[in-house]
Symmetry: C2
Subunit: 341 residues, 2 copies
């Protein structure tokens, strides 16, 4: 498995370009939708949306949704309007949760740029997040499919539940693997799964394809979250677009720290102490924490864990018919695994 | 028309009890739903919900939803599970928007108690609001009706659009009546209307009844917002459960100020100056603003305007069949008109 730290950003962007090739045209339509005011005729809403979506983002969830929809169609059939809207709403929910998360985390940087809460204030960030959720709800209504409404309703709940679990387990060293994976599903994989398989439902694909794409999304989402947690330990601020070590400082125990803590040795005891005494929240403490993780194999073990879920995602794909879209979904797994931000 | 300032709280609470009598049992079921975790099995979510809903609230929107549903049924038929869920989701959206509004307004008091943002912090308030929206989405999914999803999706959009309009018109004396009424629809009447008529759709009531209940909700909602704006000028902190004059201080021009500003006299010019120079944001300035409004007939004109929309709400009701529920909806108009908080 390739370590997350050895690949540079530019080839990765080229990789992503190749991955999305089968849905390139649809992606352009999604971009237009993302900044379209679906609520009323107030042009300011469109301006706000443009500001949010111009600040970048890799659109991985859009790619998953469009490719998942395409992979569920029989060869030669084209994606429909509902597939586009489902991709749009997946990205809207993701962006809304990012904007609110940055308020929750008092984050100053996101994707290398100042966050909405930092650039303006928490108030505008709350309103913008709500606006994005509202846009997503209107998309959901336009899809007119009660099953899909149920899927995304549960995603919204999972996102909150994930945040609550994380908030309640800060500076708590009793976190176990089950709790960590569940939290990762809530925070990330639930939306990945919805993105990956809701289009197949709309396309009336066979149940086996729907389930395979759902499994793909869950496993890829967990893999994505593990890599995210790894990058918080191994990453550089310039590449991450945010300060590394922020999880540790906030007392959030993720995979790299869990691998250290589960051993009953001196390193585990020291890391445990740093967290319990909240020394981990200081510059010195977080540097020591990162150093312990790096020197005791926490990084390698986390890379392997991410690889495990990447393999599960790959296996899920084997249950749907081969196509360009399925190939792209497979390439996306590697992209998620070796990304550096 | 009775002035909003001459009735005391206790008889009003008795009034409300009598009004909700036709749906008393269903209201109790709604209360249980409001604090039920619909997302997962984490008991902490239930605790958070209990904290939010134990802090009171008159449940006017629940009453509107249950009574609207009941009034749309032929005599003798009982409310169903979907009617309960629709009432629950209406209150959830209202409460979510209150919790986020208090962050937007940096409000310290709500219903006479400390707000979530004041008692804890903005971060928890954002998360709680999102949690309530997520619960509402899950309710919406359970209703399994695409038209109702569309109605509430638009409500969420209208709530944000109303906030944005208000934010952008602060300290702006160019606000006109059309803008004021539109903002009131977005902030308040859109959810009132959804609450009032979505149940009739679920009950497969005739289109004329659905439309009549929608009109009732819009007009009652505008009336409610006008009375709210009036109370901000005439109310006392002890009764309101929040500081009066907060709209004026924030430079938000509402009906009582609009009645003054639309005249081209000395009082209008002085109020205009107070707002433009932002002197209105000070203790002295806001007291002078309130005094100008009270001495130039702004209060009486606003009471009359609220009465106008109350009459429109009453007229809308005449288009549905008589019943106990319809009588209660009519009594609710007076309740909204003479409330003091």
């Amino acid at each position: 498995m390739t370590s997350a730290s050895i690949t540079t950003a530019t080839p990765l962007q080229d990789d992503l370009k190749a991955i999305i090739a089968p849905v390139k045209e649809e992606l352009a339509i999604v971009e237009t939708w993302l900044t379209t005011n679906l609520i009323d005729d107030n042009p300011f809403v469109g301006e706000l949306l443009s500001q949010v979506f111009q600040s970048g983002g890799k659109r991985i969830r859009v790619a998953i949704a469009l490719l998942g929809s395409k992979a569920s169609l029989t060869e030669g059939r084209e994606l429909g309007r509902l597939n586009i809207i489902q991709a749009v709403l997946t990205e809207l929910i993701h962006t809304a949760s990012l904007v609110h998360d940055d308020v929750l985390d008092s984050a100053a940087l996101r994707r290398g740029k100042e966050t909405v809460n930092k650039r303006f204030n928490d108030r505008l960030a709350v309103l913008l997040g709500d606006l994005l959720f509202a846009q997503a709800s209107i998309c959901l209504a336009r899809i007119m499919n009660p099953v899909v409404v149920g899927i995304y309703g549960q995603v919204l709940g999972d996102l909150c539940a994930g945040e609550i679990k994380q908030m309640r387990s800060q500076f708590n060293v009793e976190v176990n693997w089950e709790g960590y994976i569940n939290k990762s599903i809530g925070k990330t994989a639930s939306l990945f799964a919805a993105g990956a398989h809701a289009g197949a439902i709309l396309n009336a694909a066979p149940d086996s394809s729907v389930q395979a794409l759902k499994d793909y999304g869950v496993n890829l989402g967990i893999c994505f979250q593990i890599v995210d947690d790894l990058l918080d330990v191994t990453g550089e601020a310039t590449e991450l677009g945010k300060q590394p070590g922020s999880d540790l400082r906030a007392g959030v125990v993720t995979a790299p720290a869990l691998f250290v803590l589960e051993k009953d040795d001196a390193a585990a005891k020291r890391l445990c102490e740093l967290i319990k005494t909240r020394a981990i929240a200081t510059d010195e403490g977080s540097l020591e924490g990162i150093s312990i993780i790096k020197s005791t194999g926490g990084v390698e073990a986390t890379v392997n864990l991410a690889g495990h879920y990447a393999n599960l995602a790959k296996e899920s794909l084997s249950k749907i018919a081969p196509s360009d879209a399925r190939n792209s979904l497979e390439s996306l797994i590697n992209y998620v695994l070796v990304r550096t931000k």
